[in-house]
C-alpha cells in the first residue's frame, strides 16, 4: 500500500487537512514502536542527510529531531546561529543554498522570524521542516500534543482543551489551535487580556481571563511557559501576579476532572505556571509528550524526507 502523502515540507498545521493530520498521527503510531525495540533503528532514511539549522537556539527540540533522524539512520549535522556564517552577515538564503549545495536532503529550521521556513521551502529542493518560526507555528509540537491527547483519551473531537499562558507570542499555542480545531476539539484560551486578546475568538476558540471558571470543565489543560523578559514587562506585571491569577497551583488542580490531562511543552518553570507537585502528579503527561515527540518527528521526517525529489 502506498500513502497519498505528497508534501516535501512541513511548515505549519494551518494548511494541513484533518486527514493529513490524522495520517501523521497514525504513522507516528508505527514509529513509536521502534523506540521499544532492542535495536532502536530502522534504515528508512539511510543515506539521507539532515541538517538541524537552529538559528534560534534550543536544546530539547534539536535533540529530539537529532534522535529521530538517527533512529531513521539519517546522517545528522547541527548548525546553530553562532556557529553559522549568519554572524558574518551571510543572508539566510545564501546559507541555505550552501547547505543545499552540500546535498542536504532535509533541513530542520528553527528561526525567530515568522515565515522563515516558508521562505526557504520556496527556494530549496530540500525538505524543510519547521521547528518553530517566531510566534507563528511549531507544527511538530502541535502534533505531539495531539498525539498525546489521542493516546490517552482515545480521540480529539469534542474534547475541551484549555491552553493557558502567553498565547499572543506563542507558536505552540497557534499550532495547537489550528490542529485541534481542525480535528473537532473545543478550545479555550486563558491568560491575561494583554496576552490573550479577544481577536483570537475569530480563530474559532473561546477566550477567558478566569481560569477558575474554566478548569472544572477541561478535558486537557496545556500550560505554556511564562517568561517575564524585557518585551513582556508591558504586558503583565510579574511572575508573582501571574502565578496568583493563572498558575496551575496544587489548589487549582483539585478542581480538575479526574481524567483531565495536564500538559506542558517544556521546559517547565516549577512554581510559576505549574506547581511542582502537579507537574509530577498522576494527571501529568508531560514526559509522555517528550516520548511522543520523538515518534511524531520520526513520522514527519519519514513522510517529508521520503518523497523522491
Amino acid at each position: 500500500m502506498s500513502t497519498n502523502w505528497s508534501r516535501k515540507d512541513l511548515l505549519g498545521l494551518r494548511e494541513l487537512s484533518a486527514d493529513e493530520i490524522n495520517f501523521i498521527l497514525e504513522t507516528a503510531d508505527a514509529f513509536k514502536q521502534v523506540g521499544t525495540r532492542e535495536i532502536k533503528k530502522v534504515p528508512a532514511l539511510r543515506g539521507k542527510t539532515l541538517v538541524n539549522f537552529f538559528v534560534e537556539p534550543s536544546t530539547r527540540t534539536r535533540t529530539s529531531f537529532e534522535l529521530a533522524a538517527h533512529r531513521l539512520s539519517a546522517d545528522v549535522i547541527n548548525i546553530s546561529a553562532t556557529t553559522s556564517s549568519l554572524t558574518k552577515g551571510e543572508t539566510l538564503k545564501d546559507t541555505a543554498r550552501n547547505l543545499e549545495a552540500l546535498h542536504a536532503d532535509i533541513l530542520v529550521l528553527r528561526h525567530s522570524s515568522a515565515g522563515a521556513p516558508q521562505f526557504l521551502a520556496q527556494r530549496l529542493k530540500s525538505s524543510v521542516i519547521n521547528a518553530g518560526d517566531g510566534a507563528h507555528e511549531h507544527p511538530t509540537q502541535g502534533l505531539l500534543d495531539m498525539y498525546t491527547i489521542r493516546e490517552k483519551r482515545g480521540r480529539i473531537d469534542n474534547l475541551h482543551i484549555v491552553i493557558v499562558g502567553d498565547i499572543l507570542f506563542s507558536r505552540v499555542a497557534r499550532s495547537n489551535i489550528f490542529g485541534l480545531t481542525k480535528l473537532g476539539a473545543r478550545v479555550t484560551l486563558v491568560g491575561p487580556s494583554t496576552l490573550v486578546p479577544r481577536e483570537f475568538e475569530k480563530l474559532g476558540v473561546t477566550v477567558s481571563n478566569q481560569i477558575d471558571k474554566v478548569l472544572p470543565d477541561a478535558d486537557v489543560v496545556n500550560l505554556l511557559r511564562i517568561q517575564h523578559e524585557r518585551q513582556r514587562k508591558e504586558y503583565f506585571p510579574g511572575i508573582g501576579e501571574y502565578t496568583t491569577l493563572f498558575g496551575l497551583t496544587k489548589e487549582r488542580a483539585k478542581s480538575l476532572k479526574p481524567d483531565c490531562l495536564v500538559m506542558h511543552p517544556g521546559p517547565i518553570n516549577r512554581g510559576v505556571e505549574i506547581d511542582s507537585e502537579v507537574a509530577d502528579g498522576l494527571q501529568s503527561v508531560i514526559l509522555d509528550q517528550v516520548t511522543n515527540g520523538l515518534a511524531v518527528r520520526m513520522a514527519v521526517l519519514y513522510l517529508c524526507g521520503g518523497i523522491a525529489t
Binding site: 500513502t3 532502536k40 539511510r46
Partner: protein, 186 residues
C-alpha cells in the same frame, strides 16, 4: 508482496478459495511436522495479507495440534532499501513481536514471494527486535525471479511467471472479496 491494488477485470484466477484453504492447511501441517516445540514458534505476518495468512495458519494449527501458537506483525516499510527512490511512500504499520526472541523460531509469513527484497527487509526488521534461534519463510505463492539468495521453507503454490506479469492475492477479511489468487498478463 505486490504494492498495487488494481481492479482485476482482465486476470486469470490461479487459485480459488478452496485451493487456498487446502494449501494453507498443508503448510500448517508442514510447520507442525518441522517444529518439535511449537510453543517456540512465532508466525510473523507482513501486513496486511501476510498477517491474515498467519492468523489462518494459527487457526489450523490450533485445530490440528491443539496448541495456541504465537503470532505477530512485522512492518517492512521502514526497512525497505528503496525509500526516497519511489514516487509514493509505502504505508508504515506498527510492528509487534513477542519478546524475547532468543531461542525462538520466527516464521515470516507473506502472500507472494517474488524478488525476495521484502523478506530481506523483514529479516532486517526482526534483527532490531532481537536474535531468534532460527528464521524461516512461508509464502502462499512463490512466483520466482529472486534478486537475492532467499528461498521459502513453506510454499502454498509454485507459480512460474514472467516479470512483467502481475500476481494479486485477495483475502476475504482484508479485501472484502472472496479468497483468490489472480494472474495478470500485462
Amino acid at each position: 508482496m505486490q504494492m498495487d491494488n488494481k481492479k482485476h477485470n482482465s486476470g486469470v484466477p490461479i487459485m480459488d478459495a478452496e485451493t487456498i484453504r487446502r494449501a494453507l492447511r498443508r503448510i500448517a501441517h508442514e510447520i507442525i511436522e518441522q517444529n518439535a516445540d511449537l510453543k517456540s514458534v512465532v508466525l510473523a505476518g507482513i501486513p496486511l495479507r501476510g498477517t491474515e495468512i498467519a492468523r489462518r495458519l494459527a487457526e489450523f494449527i490450533r485445530e490440528v495440534a491443539k496448541i495456541d501458537i504465537d503470532t505477530g506483525t512485522i512492518d517492512v516499510a521502514m526497512h525497505r532499501d528503496d525509500v526516497g527512490t519511489r514516487a509514493e511512500l509505502p504505508m508504515v504499520h506498527a510492528s509487534k513481536l513477542p519478546l524475547p526472541l532468543e531461542h525462538r523460531t520466527v516464521i515470516i509469513v507473506d502472500d507472494v514471494l517474488f524478488t525476495g527484497r521484502t523478506a530481506r527487509a523483514a529479516m532486517d526488521a526482526i534483527s532490531s527486535f532481537g536474535r531468534p534461534a532460527r528464521i524461516q519463510l512461508g509464502a502462499l505463492v512463490d512466483r520466482g525471479h529472486r534478486e537475492l539468495p532467499i528461498r521459502a521453507d513453506y510454499v502454498g503454490k509454485n507459480l512460474p511467471t514472467a516479470t512483467r506479469e502481475q500476481i494479486q492475492v485477495r483475502l476475504q477479511n482484508v479485501d472484502n472479496e472472496p479468497d483468490a489468487v489472480w494472474l495478470f498478463k500485462e
